[in-house]
Symmetry: C2
Subunit: 372 residues, 2 copies
Amino acid sequence: MYQFTLKKTDALSHARLGEIETWHGTFPTPMFMPVGTQATVKSLTPEDLVEAGAGIILANTYHLYLRPGADLIEKAGGVHRFMNWKQGMLTDSGGFQVFSLSGLRKMTDEGVLFSSHIDGSRHFFTPEKVMEIEQKLGADIAMCLDVCAPVPCTYEEAKLAVERTTAWARRCKAAHTREDQALFGIVQGNIFEDLRTRSAEEIVEMDFPGYAIGGLSVGETKDEMYRILEHMHPLLPREKARYLMGVGSPEDLVEGVYHGIDMFDCVLPTRIARHGTAFTHTGKLVVRNASCSEDFRPIDEECHCYVCRNYSRAYLRHLVKAGEILAHRLISYHNVYFLLNLMKEIREAIAGDRFLAYRAEFQEKNRPFRKN
Amino acid sequence: MYQFTLKKTDALSHARLGEIETWHGTFPTPMFMPVGTQATVKSLTPEDLVEAGAGIILANTYHLYLRPGADLIEKAGGVHRFMNWKQGMLTDSGGFQVFSLSGLRKMTDEGVLFSSHIDGSRHFFTPEKVMEIEQKLGADIAMCLDVCAPVPCTYEEAKLAVERTTAWARRCKAAHTREDQALFGIVQGNIFEDLRTRSAEEIVEMDFPGYAIGGLSVGETKDEMYRILEHMHPLLPREKARYLMGVGSPEDLVEGVYHGIDMFDCVLPTRIARHGTAFTHTGKLVVRNASCSEDFRPIDEECHCYVCRNYSRAYLRHLVKAGEILAHRLISYHNVYFLLNLMKEIREAIAGDRFLAYRAEFQEKNRPFRKN
């Protein structure tokens, strides 16, 4: 079961309100999906994620295929059961990690040969192989194996990536048989508008239940990304969910929604937490900094999360300086809550016909380099 | 406020049931105290600890004095507020860490000069200085600065440690003025029975509200430790709490209670969790081992904790192998719960006049090297 319902489109922007129904529950859109790379959103339990407002999370096919292996997860009853997650789940195709993490890549029309970043062992991913893995993992939403061109890349490289992405999407669709899992198509084309148009037309023609925009947030400027999003808007069918892959900074979430995006994912909230950095309503706070040493205020005085209700910047800084795991855990919790709450505020703003005002206020508060 | 109430003594052993009342609530004894070395029980929140059954935790004076400093914690409103812990708290004296962690120690009758294990800076601990620090930290129970003789040590070294421990206890008592904090005395004497007798007589003569047995579980054999506990029993006043410092393996908790101990502390549950090892009712389980790779049972089928209700050995092993923080967190939670639940079972056994049977059953199940 998978159903996207578009509930409202903002009158003054492309922002949309919707709802996605899966076998593991229903969640509203626009939504941010925390990333559980290795079948765990780093340092957090499923209960933490639900409490923070998560309705769907992402797991990485590349990582889980290499360790512990798709067969083991299938034996466990699928990735939901394996990690004790009871709500929505999406698996990526592994393509992005093959290109960014592994060594010894060799791509042909057939597939991509790569070596594991863990032990150097060799593996060959084809569209059919990835469909087999994703169906064993058993998430609610699976992604087609796509080709993300290198950044920066030439027009010819981007064109080849688009062609292979289309051919592989066709093979993925043919190989995908699991009826309780929705398979999303991915549009490539880098920052070249004509390639984006071609890719969108070819992928949409195959009629997937949802469409992802891949190959952004990989090194291009923010203006380039926003330009491509604006270009993509009329190319994707209105009644299908739109997923912007790998995007998760607060400002990009607001801009993504402005351009009509329904779903986002990013490792950012847990990654910056590891380095002692937290999101706030006025920009990032580097908890590690000496300025926090005797600051008994919460991370963000506007935030109502468990961490902001119970812990001071001074205590969190102490944990960071002392190398304590609890620092990573508490700041991760706050950061994930912060993004999920941001999406909630955005949804409320769209519902209340005040999204543009919300966006303007957000941009005013989040000017770069603002001090906390 | 501090009050120990002895409620029952077992007819067939020295095991005791009691209760300790503090400004931060009441907890039953015998009790195990999880250790929050740096004002955090590694990877766990206060809510986790309460859920696992903790009524009192320990924090380390040496660590908190060096980082973030006692003045900062006093400004935060004390260590309870600093770390968001609302129940009982005990601070050790820092003596043990000075002798085991720091460099450049030089001890005189006046105090001990040492260098920080963090940055090499020099510090001088006297009984008066330690009382000042512990009163700033503001735990419910503070410990006197004692001298723990090296292991192995000569009779003369142990004798000097006893003499200084007595002299320093007297100075601690004189310097300690905080009425909402109970100050416990510490008995030393290594494995020499006559020195234990002398130390106990001198410390008990000062009339502290509770007594700790220090200098055990530091390298002597288990038989030596149990012999000293048996020797100590008649030397300590019946109506005061007895605290065996640094002890926390399941078998030592059972034996400690057998010998009349009311309180224990140890870093063991979180330390072994870091290495992927878990307590079970039949001995330790090395979750990291390949034997767990396709084992979908919980850590311990007899355990009712959050982790055993929700996660398999296979998943936990995956987290350990993948270096995920959640492994440390989940196994720490289980291990802390396990010890606190063990103490609960022990209290129920004493209350039901079946402690010796419980102990025999425990020993039968926990034979060394039993396979899980």
